[in-house]
Symmetry: C2
DNA sequence: CATGTGTGCTCAATCGATGTAGCAAGATTG
DNA sequence: CAATCTTGCTACATCGATTGAGCACACATG
């Protein structure tokens, strides 16, 4: 393919190309970065240099290029995990949208570790990122402060912060609608609606608080008592959820509001191992294509990732750094009854 | 937090810190990158400069640093998608393992687009990546050639290539074991084992070819005819799989080998909408926690992501660039019968 | 033939961090 | 007390690409 084989293993630079082409490094640079017309380089030279660059397998040294340039066009994102549908979709779409806007996306994954989150943010600043999207961070304000001092704009996604614009799901509305749906399916399938269990999340997590508010609102409007004793928030982990369920005194028929797909894994595993499926109906905040096929599952509230990222990029283009908050509606998926 | 607020919005450099601290840029540099002891800078000066750097919210300019340094320690990975468990887990673990080895991981997602794959590889070379892990690429050899010319080592993951070491799942063994499992469950549940359907993948995809070989081997050893007419390879998409199933003449009871979780989405959706669950048993190559809970599912062959990445990093440390191939065994998950 | 206008380039400073070579002052040795 | 060593720094070239300033030549104009 590329015929750089016989000479040095080192990567060719514009100086090497200039030597071969009998031109100056400046000319080569402008030819390769597309500014040659305005620098009045002849088409013949441009063509020759371009050909030699291809032959030599030249690729610009971004470190050198970015060091010199005014702007880096790098946009960073930190994300807690890749391995679930929600954050996976966020990462994937973020990359595509950034590229479509001529930006260089750089994503890193922080394992829900606050120290790693901060280190990752520092690394993004070191990469000369111009903007950083802080997704699902434990302490977004600490990162926002650091970035502000370094002149890097930040935007919070998924979990809000108080120092920069935040784009989050309408957790209240989504949870209220999902709760309504579960209650209505209890009425249809079991003849009456009783207060639901709420499983998963943490008591001080912003999203959990909002979802719980929506959960309660739907109970109130249905004339049901707010089921305080049935609200269990042992974190998001599957095992904790299964443990918590094991400790409950469960009636013959009941409904559950599950706070995330991660939690859902534990809930459904425990139910499958311990209870007949027709005793329970549940709904889950967040979407997963396989979870949607589980027979007990009556509905899922999908967070609208494309709409959220559109808001993120709009905020970036709009240029406001005020700590505004944008709530993006969720997409409610009622699920059909599956045969048993 | 950081008290850079009143002065310029520009990021502080070692020259700014040097001025404030009354030291030279060289001293500041060596203090901040940890080489100050061997350059005989006093502990007092080091402490003072470190404090000022923190106060000013200093973060090293990686572009400048990497330009000057001999080695970048950057390791790149290109990956087709983030939004399924397999590639999500690969990306996440790759980052963690790279960091644990003192490397800078940079990952980018190529949407299964051959041109984007190549562009992404070029971008990695421009970032001065020393090594590139090419995951699930359509044309790994083209990328390997380009990287070789630029002096960048490559390793293929998931799909093998002929120009660099390749780490792939033992698709043959995994498929054979999974097929055995499905056949045995057919015998247990339905009283007899009949040849299975094989759904998903592409006829020329290396992994599909190998899995089909394992599928056939298990049929042969069970004394069953190789079921050529039941092998359907319309790609991996859920919709194609559902369409294909709709066109089949299905017996009262049967089994299916599903070639990926992506395909599985379509298969299970179609079955759930169209057939009583107890007519079918299926197994799936690849693992997903929710798919594992579906009642028809009797087993999944999980690709051993940690072991594969261990092999990748071993190959990097070992320093061989020969096009060897390492097959990593899959983890077979037999699934319990779920209540109906 | 002096002056002006365009064309097609080159020169050299610059971005920020690194690292080799070396300098000045004090301490130690013979 | 001169020679040597040690300590604690600084000066400067360098990495590769970019870009404002400017040079040399061709050709046209009055």
């Amino acid at each position: 393919m590329t015929e750089n084989s016989e000479n040095s293993a080192r990567r060719p630079t514009i100086y090497d190309l200039a030597q071969i082409a009998g031109a100056s490094p400046s000319a080569v640079s402008s030819i390769l970065n597309g500014t040659w017309r305005k620098r009045r380089i002849s088409a013949a030279t441009a063509e020759r240099v371009t050909r030699i660059a291809t032959e030599q397998g030249y690729a610009v040294n971004l470190q050198a290029s970015l060091l010199r340039r005014e702007r880096s066009h790098i946009i960073g994102m930190i994300v807690p995990k890749y391995d679930n549908r929600y954050f996976g979709a966020i990462a994937e779409r973020f990359e595509a949208m950034a590229r479509a806007r001529g930006l260089f996306p750089v994503i890193t994954c922080t394992q829900r570790d606050p120290d790693l989150e901060f280190e990752a943010a520092r690394e993004m600043v070191s990469y000369q990122a111009e903007t950083l999207v802080i997704t699902g961070a434990t302490d977004p304000d600490r990162i926002a402060d650091f970035c502000a001092a370094a002149g890097v704009r930040t935007i919070n996604l998924d979990l809000p912060g108080s120092k920069a614009p935040s784009v989050v799901s309408d957790n209240f509305g989504g949870a209220r609608d999902l709760t309504r749906l579960i209650l209505s399916r209890l009425r249809d399938d079991f003849g009456e609606a009783a207060p639901l269990w709420f499983i998963g999340g943490r008591p001080h997590d912003h999203n959990t608080v909002e979802r719980l508010r929506g959960f309660r609102a739907a109970h109130v409007e249905a004339g049901l008592p707010a089921p305080e004793a049935k609200v269990i928030m042992p974190g998001y982990s599957p095992d904790k959820a299964a443990e918590a369920l094991a400790g409950q005194d469960l009636p013959p028929r009941f409904g559950i509001f599950v706070n995330s797909t991660i939690t859902m894994e534990g809930v459904v595993r425990w139910l499958g191992d311990n209870l007949a499926m027709d005793r329970v109906r549940l709904g889950c905040f967040d979407w997963d294509p396989f979870a949607a096929l589980l027979p007990q599952n009556v509905g899922m509230a999908e967070q609208d990732v494309p709409a959220m990222l559109q808001q993120v990029f709009d905020a970036i283009a709009g240029g406001t750094d005020q700590p505004t908050r944008i709530d993006v509606p969720c997409i409610l998926h009622p699920l059909p009854a599956r045969d048993s």
